[in-house]
């Protein structure tokens, strides 16, 4: 499993201290550093570029508002990833509550926002994307965070507020379904 913890960044700690001291301009350093990853996480869960950008913006503002509670010396990444994941999961919950969103959920996401994907993904990635999108919501979220964003179990547990055991369980169930759906690409037998 590839871990994506950012390298130690002495500049980051200084910036966080400056922001805590009232230097709002310094916050841009953190926004720039984590923006792409935060939007990618949001997009993976919401599958809509506009919603993902809005959510990323909200996540950074929320992080700024509670920067005093952020413990110095810790990397900023896991914190902002947790915030954006929780916001995205809230949006998914909200979507589920409304009938019109349930209808749109039934449409494969790859078709819903295919334009966002087409420029980047090859055919193999496209097949994987469709297979992941066919999973139930939490299996899909965990699979996407693990397979696409390449967070490990403990990182996903911290981001979602679930236990590592629950993450492993979601991933295990999702894996079995992915194995079946992608049998023609990866072989049907279990390894």
């Amino acid at each position: 499993v590839v871990s994506h913890r950012e390298d130690d960044d002495p500049m980051e700690a200084k910036v966080i201290a400056a922001v805590k001291g009232g230097d709002t301009a310094s916050y841009d350093y953190l926004v720039s550093k984590y923006m792409k990853r935060v939007v990618s996480i949001a997009w993976g869960l919401l599958r809509n570029a506009h919603d993902a950008e809005d959510l990323a913006q909200e996540a950074f503002v929320k992080a700024f508002q509670s920067i005093d509670r952020f413990r110095g010396g810790e990397p900023f990444g896991p914190w902002i990833y947790r915030i954006v994941t929780n916001l995205a999961l809230d949006v998914l919950k909200h979507r589920r509550r409304f009938r019109h969103e349930e209808i749109s959920d039934a449409i494969p996401a790859a078709r819903r926002d295919r334009a966002d994907l087409s420029a980047q993904a090859n055919e193999l990635a496209r097949r994987i994307d469709e297979a992941i999108e066919s999973l139930p919501e939490m299996q899909r979220a965990v699979a996407r965070l693990h397979l696409v964003e390449q967070f490990d179990h403990s990182e996903i547990a911290a981001m979602t507020g679930l236990t590592e055991g629950t993450i492993r369980s979601h991933l295990s169930h999702g894996r079995a379904k992915l194995k079946q759906k992608l049998a023609d690409l990866y072989g049907g037998s279990d390894d």
């Binding site: 590839v2 503002v61 397979l147 696409v148």
Partner: protein
């Protein structure tokens, strides 16, 4: 699922292009929006003070309001007649003790 899972590892490798890559225009746009929102917020120390002072100010206002209303209520209540007032009044005063009524007149 084994500790080292070849299937998931291959999926991870092949799913890498599925990450959403923001273009530079979008990055600039979101950075600008965040910067604008952040500048509207009170800064770190100011925000911390505001968080402490807001409940204190609310308590103070509630206390002042309660005190003002209390004083006003006391001021508006009719004062009980004093003994001197009773004695100087022209009317007689009736006092009841053990069921017997006595009338005090000037």
């Amino acid at each position: 699922m084994t500790e080292r899972d070849d299937f998931l590892e291959r999926l991870q490798r092949d799913a890498r292009p599925l990450r959403y890559e923001l273009d530079d225009v979008a990055v600039t746009r979101i950075r600008a929006r965040v910067a604008a929102r952040v500048q509207e917020e009170p800064s770190g120390v100011a925000a911390m003070l505001a968080r402490w002072l807001r409940p204190a100010a609310a308590s103070f206002v509630a206390l002042v309001l309660a005190t003002t209303l209390g004083i006003r209520w006391i001021q508006q209540s009719p004062e009980p007649a004093s003994v001197d007032a009773l004695l100087t009044s022209n009317s007689s005063v009736e006092v009841t003790i053990d069921g017997d009524t006595y009338t005090l007149a000037e």
